[in-house]
Symmetry: C2
Subunit: 350 residues, 2 copies
DNA sequence: GTGAAAGCGCTAACAA
DNA sequence: TTGTTAGCGCTTTCAC
């Protein structure tokens, strides 16, 4: 009877029912101009034969795939997974399937993913740049093809780029004001890659806040992290401890290095909070699990993802390439024990 | 000149060069039976016009998409991201693009993702089941369509299922032997969903190890976690502390609840390790950041992902549905401070 | 080494 | 309400 080796196609249904392909197509797509009887007939057979529409064929014909491509640097930690979650939530409600790709902080992969997504005829691309991305030609290509392109968190310095970011400058500035308020004056900074808007802004805020409060900027108090790992923070902290005069606070551009610093300080018998204040950035879940709990800045990852998709949906609607829109979310400073300078840390009391 | 509103197609190249579509197709695919001159010509024009092959069309025609679908319960924590990383590594080397979907522990989403992947004509599906999955009809459909299906970590109790798991039973058994060796006798267990092979096996090992060592099984020492979060562990620990006699050890089926328990114990002034041993499962990065550092079991996520893809590639080769293959990886007990019962914990010395 | 023609599975004019 | 027809962009026989 049925050919064993082949999936049933729309044409199979049509033939079996003596209907035209177009009628079956309309029936399956709940078109209004098909009799209920026919619809029922078609659907019944479709169920019976386990008919699976071929979305490739539909996409080819329609010129749109209902797929949204997403490129993230990685899915470690909690931030990008949160963004992805937000993206999926809104995208699926809007009828889009999401295709997630990791660049693993590698431009070449990023480029390859852009290519692949374009070839796969995705209806739009959401990107958070890798930290090795220097030129934006691959992004220009996307837009020149007319494919909506929305950045999130990490976006290039292009005047017409569209995207959602968090106000890293503000978040970092608040961290600094908080530390200064605590009485800290020799505040060190663990800096991230200066090529990224995010960590660049955090560094700028560090500098500006110092200046605004009449605290001299000391180059020796800034350590450029080779990565965002715990060990990177341990090495950085070690370097700071070599200084003739120890800093009284460290503002790390990421949480994990701050965690590493905390471990190292403990090894040296230096009490976090009491002897040295410590602040991270990202509000990773582990910040509440360590002692003392780590002060950090929340970036509202889920909201960012949701907003990015909404931006994409707007781009999709209008044909003109929409004047560059940059949505800026407010970060949130979350003060915990680690930054309460001079106060005995919680774990010493227990 | 060129129509502004349309991407250049293979046919455009052919027309422009006065060649047949087929020739251009062969040239682009580096076929051997095309003259080098023609190839060069075609490639030059392709570059010039920024030609992007339409992989949908190719897939439709060829009957294969070179896309591998992956469904994970979530990408929180470090385990599943590690698996995904392993998958991407091997898959991309084999020329496959990976499409990642999260079920968020929701069967309905899992089913929808299966459907979507099938419709998108993926060449195979890799799944780690959600913890709400009870029937496997949607998986049967995949295989009945002839699409290779490989499970990883969480797999259904189907005799012919193919997949890669870690030996959870062994890992848990080692945990128990370790604790018993430390002198623990009132060992509690934070149990995961018993519907999942993974957490079910961890629980079984808990029971079997007790029995093997002549330690009575006490129902009141087992708490079934409502989730794998920190707070779930705090609540569970609180429950255990209500008991007339406190346990001297807790083996948690997940790391995060163990972390939660640790926090709660600290609040109660109960010293982890010294007063009560604590062990988790998964070897999350945070386990080394807390004090005392948490003993755990590593599940080799990356290797699992790599292996899963290799299994998929094997399935793809042979036409027959390959006798069920179940690859079992050895877990690794990582002993840290938290389980050294009776010994003063590291954080008290500093 | 190249071309002509058919068709993957679906949708969308247009006609009836 | 349904059918006819054409074609999305590509690959693949089969000729030449």
């Amino acid at each position: 009877m049925a050919k064993a080796n082949k999936r049933t196609s729309l044409a199979d249904l049509a033939k079996e029912l003596g209907l035209a392909n177009s009628t079956v197509s309309r029936a399956l797509n709940h078109a209004s101009d098909v009799s209920d009887a026919t619809k029922a007939q078609v659907w019944a057979l479709a169920e019976k034969l386990h008919y699976q529409p071929n979305s490739l064929a539909a996409a080819l014909r329609k010129g749109r795939s209902n797929v949204l491509g997403v490129i993230v640097p990685h899915i470690n930690g909690a931030f990008f997974p949160a963004v992805v979650h937000g993206i999926e939530e809104v995208a699926s409600k809007a009828g889009f399937n999401v295709m997630i790709c990791q660049s693993t902080e590698d431009v070449d992969r990023e480029k390859k993913h852009v290519e692949a997504l374009l070839k796969a005829q995705v209806d739009g691309i959401l990107v958070s740049m890798s930290n090795t991305t220097r030129d934006y030609a691959h992004f220009e290509r996307v837009r020149s093809q007319g494919t909506p392109l929305v950045f999130f968190d990490r976006m290039p310095a292009l005047p017409d780029a569209c995207g959602v970011v968090v106000d890293d400058y503000l978040g970092a500035y608040q961290v600094m004001e908080h530390l200064i308020e605590q009485g800290c004056r020799r505040i060190a900074h663990f800096a991230g890659p200066q090529i990224l808007n995010t960590t660049y802004d955090r560094f700028r805020a560090y500098q500006d806040a110092l200046k605004a409060h009449g605290i001299p900027y000391r180059e020796e108090l800034v350590v450029h992290l080779p990565g965002s790992s715990t060990t990177a923070g341990m090495t950085a902290m070690q370097q700071l401890l070599q200084l003739p005069e120890r800093p009284d606070a460290v503002f790390s551009a990421y949480d994990f290095p701050a965690g590493g610093a905390l471990q190292l300080l403990e090894d040296y018998g230096i009490r976090v909070a009491e002897d040295i204040a410590l602040v991270g950035f990202s509000n990773e879940p582990f910040t509440t699990m360590i002692k003392p709990r780590l002060t950090s800045v929340d970036q509202h990852g889920t909201l960012m993802g949701e907003t990015a998709v909404e931006l994409f949906l707007q781009l999709l609607k209008r044909a003109e390439p929409l004047s560059s829109r940059r949505i800026v979310l407010k970060p949130q400073l979350v003060v915990r024990d680690s930054s309460l300078y001079g106060q005995p840390a919680f774990h010493k009391q227990a």
